[in-house]
Symmetry: C2
Subunit: 341 residues, 2 copies
Amino acid sequence: MSAKPPTSLDVAREAGVSQATVSYVLNDRQGVRISDETRARVLEAVDRLGYVPHAGARTLRTGHSGLVLVPLVDVPYGPLAVGLMEELDRELSRLGYTMIQYGARRLKGMAAARAWAELRPVAVLAPAGRLTRQSVDVLRSAGIKAVIGIGVVGWSSEIVSTMTLDHEGIGATAAEHLLARGSRTLTAIVPAEDGLRDMGLLRAAGVRRVAAARGVPYTRVDLAFSEAATAARLDMWRAVDTTGHARTKHGVFAYNDEYAMLLMAVLADNGFSVPGDVAVVGCDDLPLANLLRPRLTTVRLDVTTGPAMLAQTLDEIVRGGAAGQRRLALWSHALVERDST
Amino acid sequence: MSAKPPTSLDVAREAGVSQATVSYVLNDRQGVRISDETRARVLEAVDRLGYVPHAGARTLRTGHSGLVLVPLVDVPYGPLAVGLMEELDRELSRLGYTMIQYGARRLKGMAAARAWAELRPVAVLAPAGRLTRQSVDVLRSAGIKAVIGIGVVGWSSEIVSTMTLDHEGIGATAAEHLLARGSRTLTAIVPAEDGLRDMGLLRAAGVRRVAAARGVPYTRVDLAFSEAATAARLDMWRAVDTTGHARTKHGVFAYNDEYAMLLMAVLADNGFSVPGDVAVVGCDDLPLANLLRPRLTTVRLDVTTGPAMLAQTLDEIVRGGAAGQRRLALWSHALVERDST
DNA sequence: TTGTAGGCGTTATCAT
DNA sequence: ATGATAACGCCTACAA
């Protein structure tokens, strides 16, 4: 049925030239001039045979694969993450790399590192949390030039370059806005889910910082994504106006738009007014944010600048050899003001 | 700084054995008995040197890579798609394959096919829409055993095996439920977005089929994801009760939960009652479905059975050689009944 | 301008 | 049970 795939030697025979000539034509090597007629014959043969070079063989010979491995991060995949990947892919391919995403969930620690190393990528972008000292060693000794940790700043930043969102800045931006719109207390929601918790803590730290600077009461609420858990936390915002006191407006940064939606649903169910009693800020600017009533004020992350910078840095590290550890704080953000504050 | 990666020869020297012995130990080849002591020495050397086999070289030698290439599909990435990928990854690795996701957005047509073929994967799971006859030829002649189209049933199903959701069944399930809950007309929303439109049409066909069978008026609404576009279509459901007629309950299958949320927001803004005037069914059972008020009835897709079947089939095709075209209708679905109907 | 030949790291065949 | 050796497909220095 299907014979073995054609090799460059097959192409050479078909075109009546040598294997080297085929290689020259396909990689249009400089310093070697091929007659137009020969070139045409080669290309035609390539086409006729459906020849495609064997990446493995090329890697073996040249010593580099041009592969950039990106283990699928286990943060929730929203439009944001997809947009980032897309942009990163574009940038890397512009620089001549091939970006590949690799299932990271299945394997952990050393096993994962070995699986990645087998492919001899030129760079690995791994969730910072998954990088142990050992696994980084394995990656390094497999000849991977750039190991870049993505996500939360941690110990790993002393070993590899890291790219992170400015989570604290996001929390601070939200907090500043809440105060500007009249909130008298600040609360930061931290998701209880594993993958989100670390980022939640950083964002909460940003809120706390602003609260401290402005002398405003601050509360951190660790919250599972459920209506029951949320309802159990509502007392803190219950207005004390049975005594005729003026109502206090409370400000909440809900970590992201989904938690914000959860919160707003439960608040509405329990007779709270948004933003009258509680003002809410989300993050991500998902489509749903603008469909909530009131429409959700949210922090939008910029998707373009980050990947470009990252790709650029990666390229520099790869070309320049060992370039030490750099810390990249990427992605600017902006507040999208709507009605929930 | 970082020397070249250790090879199996380095390991052999370190352990004081031959290269072949290293290979035997690492792949624990049957029919060859290695003394426990030798085996231990080899494994220790592997560990000390941080040796990881070179996938490219192995592929070159053995003729197969064990790679399954999954171009990132350009449908919106929700929890569903992520869950599917995760599950598929698990199943494939159980069968000894390595699943890899490849940026598909950048390249189109032949260029994409060639890029995929370079890696000499054993199988490719590509969006059916991207597969042209030529590109399938290239993939085939590069020795790829299984080319499986994912997504909408189209011409390509005559060339490659295809895996698709039972979109029509989803629409039908939603429609049956709407009628059972008292809707007197049926409407199917079809997203105007490129990647979604084809699936939307299939789901709509399921709704139409049920409507025809039951003798109920059916309308298809092509809709862009915007409040303005949605508001412009509301007249069709405006109750004619100025004349005192009994109100007609209208049933809408909104394609997915996000469109359902869009619709419900606009309906509420314009004084419609859900489910009194209009009953709404979504699809995907996103977290947001249960946070809408009224809570959204939705069709949930089963994430487990599909990938397992797919991996199984893929394995059969790969092992059994050319196995003709099969059509796989995958993933069962179930209705999750809530308050919006 | 084009051809020849050697080697990248691995596995498998064939001796020992 | 273990070791030497060839071959996979490609690239490239060198020879012609």
